[in-house]
């Protein structure tokens, strides 16, 4: 049963930020596809609910060859999934969205809400970090941009403080020889991942690895970067042996928790396999892009 709350419906972003600053016991709803579940469970019972679903200023997808991709916070998952621009420039994002919950959830839920909710099992986090995304958030007094991998602090906690709203996700323009892949492991396609791995690879002109990113989903309190394995790959000529080694490191560095869906040991094993496979997939994409 959802507790009673006062409903606040700002007409603009400016008004939303002013209202949020004014009310202490206030939570923000956009699609509410995560929030309403925890409210129904009684885990959250705010006195005020600030609805930004209708703040159209924050609903946009912009792409520029130099600047990269900018997605407004209230853009729905379905809009990202259906965007031709994103399909062309960042196919991994479209593939990820296609497996995020169900069509109904993607029709109403938003990218900003998903990121702000900061569930470590969420799909967009690992993929966006692998794509080197930044996040812009702000309050009535100003705004701030941080790298997305520094944004998540703990389970369901971010760098944002009371009064802060997610404003925009910025994904830089990809390198010329770049690839990125993501896969989650689950029993039902539309479920959250029992574990997940995203990997990106950028290659130098001579085919060696310029930069790699490995980000694990549901393998710790936040999306987890495996920098030790990333460093291993940098500067090297990549091959299956290195991918397997990186997978091994990822499996050791992960901090998965056992629950009804899988044991810790099983999760570590699958994380290693996924890391290996996603690196290979990203690498092959980067080679083809050349």
């Amino acid at each position: 049963m959802i507790n009673d709350f006062h409903y606040l419906k700002p007409a603009s972003l400016k008004e939303a930020l002013a209202m949020y600053a004014q009310y202490d016991d206030c939570k923000v709803i956009c699609g509410g596809q995560s929030l309403l579940i925890v409210m129904r469970q009684g885990m959250l019972a705010p006195e005020y609910l600030l609805d930004i679903k209708h703040v159209k200023e924050l609903s946009y997808i912009k792409f520029d060859d130099k600047d990269g991709l900018r997605i407004g916070a209230t853009t729905t998952h379905r809009e990202i999934e259906k965007s031709d621009t994103i399909a062309k420039k960042y196919p991994v994002l479209v593939a990820m969205e296609g497996k995020l919950a169900s069509i109904q959830t993607r029709n109403w839920g938003t990218i900003g809400g998903n990121i702000a909710h900061a569930d470590p099992a969420g799909d967009p986090g690992p993929v966006l970090i692998a794509l080197k995304a930044e996040i812009k958030f702000g309050n009535a007094n100003g705004e701030k941009t941080v790298a997305l991998d520094e944004f998540f602090v703990d389970y369901f906690e971010t760098k944002m403080e009371h009064g802060d709203l997610v404003l925009e996700i910025h994904v830089p323009a990809p390198d010329a020889k770049f690839g990125c892949a993501y896969q989650k492991f689950n029993l039902l396609d539309s479920d959250m991942g029992i574990v997940a791995a995203a990997a990106s690879v950028a290659l130098n002109a001579d085919g060696t690895c310029k930069e790699a990113r490995i980000v694990l989903g549901n393998a710790g309190p936040t999306p987890l970067r495996v920098t030790k394995a990333e460093d291993l790959l940098k500067g090297k000529k990549l091959d299956d042996k290195l991918f397997a080694e990186a997978g091994q490191i990822a499996s050791e560095e992960a901090q998965p928790v056992a629950d009804i869906h899988a044991s810790e040991e099983h999760r570590r094993h699958v994380l290693g396999v996924l890391t290996k496979r996603m690196l290979k997939k990203a690498f092959e994409q980067a080679q083809k892009a050349a």
Partner: protein, 159 residues
């Protein structure tokens, strides 16, 4: 907490209801408007029995705040038939025996209807994916996919 007014359209009719802000869309549809075709199954955005279309997009009404639908157009399973004639998808479901217990049917119909209205030459996999958010606990999926396929092949026209 004070009630507030929600003005929106359901199945083409204008409604004005007084609700608490915490009221879910499924509750307004069933309890305030008496349109009990829409079912509440899991209440946790999983099963899809509560699927309705809002401005043409399928959503799970158990997890949408009704106040967020201010000024919008909602279609429930009751809104599929026109002038007493069943919609193409409803007739395809009948002909293909696409139900067993029937509890998931309203949600399946809404998802399938939204899908065929936007899909162009869909593949069988896309048809299956179109009902990924709907659970049939009788597991009668094949007959549902057959019905969707029949409609996409143009075997059923609006009457």
């Amino acid at each position: 907490m004070e009630k507030q007014v929600l003005r929106f359209k359901v199945n083409g009719d204008e409604y004005e209801v007084y609700i608490h802000p915490k009221t879910l869309l499924a509750e307004v549809i069933r309890d305030h408007l008496g349109l009990t075709g829409t079912k509440r199954g899991c209440d946790t955005v999983s099963c899809g029995a509560c699927t309705v279309n809002v401005n043409g997009f399928s959503v799970k009404s158990c997890s949408v705040l009704a106040v967020q639908c201010e000024g919008m157009e909602v279609t429930t399973v009751e809104g599929l038939e026109k002038n007493g004639k069943l919609s193409p998808m409803q007739r395809a479901f009948l002909d293909n025996g696409s139900y067993q217990c029937g509890f998931c049917t309203p949600g399946m119909l809404m998802s399938a209807t939204a899908f065929v209205s936007e899909a162009k030459n869909p593949t069988k996999d896309e048809m299956k994916e179109s009902i990924e958010g709907n659970t049939c606990r009788c597991t009668g999926y094949n007959s549902i996919v057959r019905a969707i396929e029949a409609v996409t092949q143009g075997k059923y026209k609006e009457e």
